[in-house]
Symmetry: C2
Subunit: 341 residues, 2 copies
DNA sequence: TATTAGCAGTCGAATTAAAGGAGTGCTAAA
DNA sequence: TTTAGCACTCCTTTAATTCGACTGCTAATA
């Protein structure tokens, strides 16, 4: 494939991303390649179609990028510097605000990306079940109520409220605290399970119900942090592809299927941008969309995964540029600010 | 207005709620009033139109209820027993599960209502800033990090994490705990403000930054609980009125305007169902929708407010029946289970 | 051999015309 | 007061037509 064909393919994708309309040979000549004739472009387009990079919507229509065309475009034809000084400043300001919890950072990052890219953005925080426990605290909030607080080695704090059907005493709580800490410090969160329940019961001989309840609630809490953040849900709605009610409904449905979104986000690889174009998505409902994910991490510290969902003709250049830039900021912040998270 | 006209009006509203199509005199005769002729119905309809209860979409169309018509319908023509045994059982099962936090109950109630009514449901928990403080605890999570836990007299628990730029000691934390409790126990949450900040500084002479930070974070936390729960966002999308892109976009926009929804919910009156039909909504974007709100409470214990949003031809009967039934269950549960919430 | 001008042919989108039918309002009779 | 019957309205659907933006191909040109 010669250089001119590449330029034409790139022009077709760029133009289609901008206008959402099939691109004609004339448009290419007028806006991109004024020094060749439309007939030449037509010849090249015919060949590009033959090898599968572009398609026609009907016999006499202009061309539209195919999945293969988009793929070549993002893999080879794209430069990732599509981010303005204003945007850089905006992102910097947003991410500079001091946050107390990693969740808050995740939330702010998510909304910032959505605002800059104008696409729907989802994200999930770091997986806590894989993290190691730094400390567990139990705080009594009444005779039958406890708050459990877990601090992980990555500085993430989780807490939950536990209620009992019977009274507990401060002494019991203290004993529990000691036992949990001595047994679990440095271990991963998913060590809190059935065997531990039995172990504690054997050690302390408290009411099995109390111990059961505690373990259950902590497990529930760990599971609960697979929480999805979603920003800019209606951002896509002004795009022409959403004129089709089918597309719009598919989109709304997919956003409501938390599990699907979580699967996609969690399949990410650390520090790597992944792009799923149309049919490349496992999920049938996503066939008309592209998803770009990025799993942020600093060292071995997982900062969660962010995903952007847009039409297949999404502005890949802008999205990827923003992702890369935000990743750099997160890296810097976390290197200089130390380990607390 | 004679009895027959009322019956015809009711039939028109019922039929329109079911079909979303203008209702003809023939339909009334066939499905509702087989013993009178369509000409008679036409005469009555002409009069109902004259006094403003129904409207035509064009000269030779059937009739559609006007805002005034809906209003009469919900005020006078409706029976609130539109709830099946299966639904009663379903609701009962859902709400019976033991919950640890009022927020969880709010969430479950919201999703249950949405599932039964098939309409989008929003809700907000009880307003915490008006509640009185039962106890405040500070838990150290490291030399520069604290968790503040506030238990209110209604049994609601709020917590937040506070980070400092300088070290604090356990003694300081204990002193703060004592001071906060002695000063604030029994007082309302919005007492935590600037004057308190000064008072504490004068008493303890700790770094003003520490005290400032604590007060700020607690205020942030209190504000944070104006959180909106939303279920069944895409429930309405199958309704014919959502074929119009304008209507659909208005709907999506309104759901994204948290503040608008909060205003509507918080304007509610305790234990009273409020119905806003079309233009009766203050918000322009809601002119094509109806909103029904119910502020649940048991005694003086606010359980939060639930709102249902649907088309103007929403199934008022079903929605209101469900609301009333759920309110009864919440009342019972909270009477028998005691005050913990 | 690569490029280009020119033109026939295709097909969707927009416009217009016509037909069909679901309703109403009104009149006059029961 | 109710009802049958009929003229009239106007929306909806379908079909026919026009319009124009494309392409592909051929033949000429550099």
């Amino acid at each position: 494939m010669d250089e001119r064909k590449k330029k034409i393919l790139r022009a077709i994708v760029d133009e289609y991303i901008e206008t959402a309309e099939p691109v004609s040979s004339n448009t290419i000549v007028q806006k991109y390649e004024p020094n060749i004739s439309s007939a030449t472009v037509r010849n090249d387009m015919a060949e590009l179609e033959k090898i599968g990079y572009i398609e026609k919507t009907h016999t006499s229509s202009g061309r539209v990028p195919s999945a293969k065309g988009y793929r070549l475009y993002v893999d080879e034809l794209l430069k990732y510097d599509d981010i303005s000084l204003e945007e850089i400043k905006y992102i910097g300001d947003k991410l500079e605000t001091k946050v107390n919890q990693l969740e808050e950072l995740t939330r702010i990052t998510t909304s910032t990306i959505s605002e800059i890219t104008h696409y729907t953005t989802v994200s999930v925080g770091p997986e806590s079940s894989k993290q190691n426990i730094e400390e567990i605290k139990f705080v009594m909030l009444g005779a039958r109520m406890l708050m459990a607080i877990i601090v992980t080695e990555l500085g993430i704090i989780k807490e939950t409220i536990i209620k009992f059907d019977e009274d507990i005493t401060q002494e019991q709580v203290d004993a529990l605290t000691n036992l949990f800490n001595s047994k679990l410090k440095g271990k991963s969160l998913d060590m809190i399970d059935k065997p531990l329940e039995e172990y504690i019961f054997n050690e302390l001989h408290y009411s099995i119900n109390i111990i059961k309840t505690i373990i259950e609630e902590i497990k529930k809490m760990i599971k609960d942090d697979e929480r999805l953040y979603l920003e800019g849900r209606n951002k896509n709605f002004d795009l022409p592809e959403f004129k089709s009610l089918d597309v719009a409904r598919n989109f709304i449905n997919i956003l409501d299927e938390n599990d699907t979104m979580l699967d996609i986000l969690k399949s990410g690889v650390a520090d790597d941008i992944q792009i799923f174009i149309g049919d490349e998505n496992k999920n049938e409902e996503l066939k008309d969309f592209s998803v770009i994910t990025f799993k942020h991490s600093v060292g071995n510290k997982d900062l969660g995964t962010i995903g952007i969902i847009g039409p297949k003709r999404m502005n890949y250049s802008k999205v990827i540029s923003v992702m890369k830039y935000i990743n750099r900021i997160l890296n810097n912040n976390n290197d200089t600010n130390g380990k607390e998270g």
